[in-house]
């Protein structure tokens, strides 16, 4: 299993953490960010999500985030998985798993990576609301 992936299927947090922990027995702290499909957005009720990505480019951006995280933070390994396609409310969307010897580094890298993912990765979310399906622009 690759450390950085875009896939339609759901993922197992246990499996992703094991994958990252396999990098070293010197890992003392793992910080995980899990993004889940919540039932509201800007006050509106959401009944489902659908994600589209730019194949090839999205994977390249995520790999670039991993490489920069390894270079800029004192972490041992980091994994990134993002789902695409239809996602039901309550289901998982994205998982970032950062591992380090000491916990501060993993917290910083994990928070940086999810912010960078949102900023630089060509993935788009469509929300199903009462009024129909709407593409979400984080910066309208």
């Amino acid at each position: 299993m690759e450390l950085v992936r875009i896939q339609r299927e759901n993922f197992s947090i246990n499996a992703e953490v094991e994958l990252v922990k396999a990098a070293s027995r010197g890992i003392g702290g793992v910080v995980v960010f899990l993004g889940a499909a919540r039932d509201f957005s800007k006050g509106e009720t959401i009944t489902g999500l659908d994600f589209e990505h730019y194949p090839g480019m999205a994977e390249a951006r995520l790999n670039d985030i991993r490489e920069r995280a390894l270079k800029n933070f004192n972490i041992i390994e980091i994994g990134i998985v993002h789902r695409v396609g239809k996602i039901a409310i309550g289901e998982d969307i994205v998982l970032i798993t950062a591992a380090s010897a000491h916990r501060n580094d993993a917290f910083m890298a994990c928070e940086w990576a999810i912010t960078e993912l949102k900023r630089t990765t060509p993935i788009w979310k469509r929300e199903t609301t009462k009024g129909g399906d709407v593409w979400v622009s984080e910066t309208p």
Binding site: G56, M57, I114, L117, P122, I123, K125, V136, E138
Partner: protein
């Protein structure tokens, strides 16, 4: 031939997933934008704004980036992953 790919809401506005152009010589991103605005009036306003990013061969590009025959250009609306 170059391929221009539309993503997310741009697909709906352009009523297309992609568009191919035959070019005789390399062009800039700015020049391609002018061609697109003519062929897809529904994209005109959005292409004049600052919210759409452009990629050339899967890398972020700017208005001066050169597009050569065989290149793939992406029109990327604001991301909403994560």
């Amino acid at each position: 031939m170059i391929t221009v790919r539309f993503f997310a809401m741009l697909k709906g506005l352009a009523k297309a997933e992609s568009r191919e152009y035959k070019i005789d010589a390399p062009i800039t991103v700015a020049e391609l934008k002018s061609m697109l605005k003519k062929d897809f009036p529904a994209l005109s306003t959005i292409l004049d704004g600052r919210s759409i990013l452009i990629s050339v061969n899967l890398e972020f590009a700017d208005k001066n980036t050169i597009i050569k025959d065989g290149d793939e250009v992406g029109l990327l609306p604001p991301f909403s992953g994560g």
